[in-house]
Point group: C2
Chain length 333, copies 2
């Protein structure tokens, strides 16, 4: 038994604790997704397990590199627990309404220990080689906190999946969105429109005035229904991923491409790097957290990225057509 | 006369206003530096002038690309003025002790207009092609603010120059540092040790626990002596740059190199991108300032950068030798 199992969990007695169910789910999905992706490549993922040293927990990064289909990719599972410092709690509070910094009842001051936490999640970024094949990102995670006295404080789910093409194939965008919509519609038809919009807003490169890609779904701080149901929603979204992505890669991975198309892919990958390093909350938070594993956080970066001064595609070009949908997000499903 | 010239300046009556002298200096230095760099390449810089639209000011970016010596580089002059919003003032206040958000004497609340400002500076990043030739960065800038009633509020100089080699040539590091030390020693022997340390601290990639390169000099919020003297210090530092950099490039630009050495250069450029996008205050501030020119800010990024998962050079290799001095900054002069 790991040390976090002494802490109570916020769900009914008829199931295993949610955190154990979520951990089992992400480990199962890591195996399924890597196997699915490997089926379209000549190389395999290799596993790299790590622990957090003095802090609690660790993870397994599954990494693919230099494949015939995938230039670079990682499917990372992490299960970590320990203390969130008051500074970390303050940084996260705005995005998580039930997370609070407990105060000492005598002094009224924030307790120096902050809160205890448990977090587990799977995060994945896949960068294909062919500029006609889109990059994709997926992440589903679960978070719990406890007060210093051991009473449960807050919990939430977050996650989503999105697509970053370099050339726009409308049928690919529709396919990816439709399958994720279907997964959410099974539970509640109000979810997809909300999470689609949230995704466009979250993956926004403000200084470029454009989205990172053509979106998908994104949600955070999801805690307003039975956690057992939210877990099922995450599972259904997970299940939507391979059928939404593999057929696209199968169609695009061997398309002929030019030097110029490869160059455009590298420039767009530069924008990917800009988003991840400047705006992505998970990356920012991770890199500023002592004891976090930098290599797993920055696994999301492409093998190659390029920046040209003041580059703008020619009006009417296929490159410009992509920018039309990243500057004005469209409805795809 | 431009509109900012109606505002009073904080110096004596026997000289032109400091801001006009600084503007003249940076324009002269832009011409000199680009000419000096061009002397070692087969291609020329080209000029790209821009204005801030509805806001005041503009600049001239001098850009070089695809040269035989320089892969990508920019020498950018900007002269901008207008209003700093209260949010911007609050963001800058911590680094600039005399910058204050004025309050309305009647209500005691911060005035919504914030403060008026004038800023001018030259900033430069040069990425040579050859992995044995170091990247360099230089920036000298001057800043003034006024209260809404037109009274001067604060002014300061900032800047520095630093070197980012991919392979360590101790003689290059010494040469670069020695010339900058000499420029500062002429004025005050306490400056170089202070600014050398500040440079190591500023260009620190915290999540990697290493500095960006082998440093140089860096200072900010410099306002504690006669501005006329600080201007002269900036000029002497400017003058130190070409003699400190050109001989290094001349020696390194045609050295033979392997694919592996080029690959190492790209990985180190990835770190350069990490620093600039995550930590550099100027970049962060610029990208978040409405009306700023993104292309000029991101001109600092290399044409190509690369990220490999969990890459570590072999112990004892020349690559590992570079990391020794980026993880434990050394005294070079």
């Amino acid at each position: 038994m790991s040390s976090y199992s002494i802490m109570p969990a916020p769900q009914d007695k008829t199931h295993l604790p949610i955190r154990q169910q979520m951990e089992a789910l992400i480990r199962r999905k890591q195996a399924e997704i890597t196997k699915g992706l490997e089926s379209l490549d000549t190389v395999k993922f290799h596993a790299d397990s790590w622990t957090r040293g003095n802090d609690g927990g660790g993870g397994t990064s599954m990494v693919i590199a230099n494949g015939s289909t995938f230039e670079k990719g990682g499917v990372n599972v992490s299960v970590v627990y320990g203390n969130l410092t008051p500074t970390a709690v303050l940084a996260m509070k705005d995005d998580h309404k039930n997370l609070k910094l407990p105060k000492d009842p005598k002094t009224g001051l924030p307790v120096p220990d902050g809160v205890k936490f448990f977090a587990c999640g799977l995060s994945m970024v896949i960068h294909p080689k062919n500029p006609h094949a889109p990059t994709t990102h997926l992440n589903y995670r679960y978070f719990e906190t406890w007060n210093p006295d051991g009473t449960p404080q807050s919990w939430w789910f977050g996650g989503g999946a999105d697509l970053t093409p370099f050339y726009l194939y409308e049928e690919d965008a529709k396919h990816f969105h439709e399958l994720h919509k279907k997964a959410l519609d099974k539970h509640d038809k109000t979810l997809y429109p909300k999470y689609k919009k949230w995704c466009d807003e979250y993956f926004y490169i403000a200084h470029r005035k454009e989205t990172r890609g053509i979106g998908g779904i994104f949600f955070d701080d999801f805690d307003d229904r039975d956690p057992q149901e939210i877990l099922k929603i995450c599972e259904d979204c997970f299940d939507a991923f391979l059928p939404s992505y593999l057929p696209i890669i199968e169609k695009r991975k061997d398309m002929p491409y030019t030097e110029e198309e490869k160059q455009w892919q590298l420039i767009r990958r530069g924008r990917y790097v800009e988003f991840n390093l400047i705006y992505d909350r998970g990356t920012q938070f991770g890199l500023r957290t002592p004891g976090s594993r930098v290599e797993s956080i920055l696994m999301s970066l492409p093998e190659h990225a390029s920046w040209l001064y003041n580059h703008h595609p020619a009006p009417g070009s296929r490159e410009a057509k992509l920018l039309e949908v990243t500057t004005n997000p469209r409805e795809w499903a």
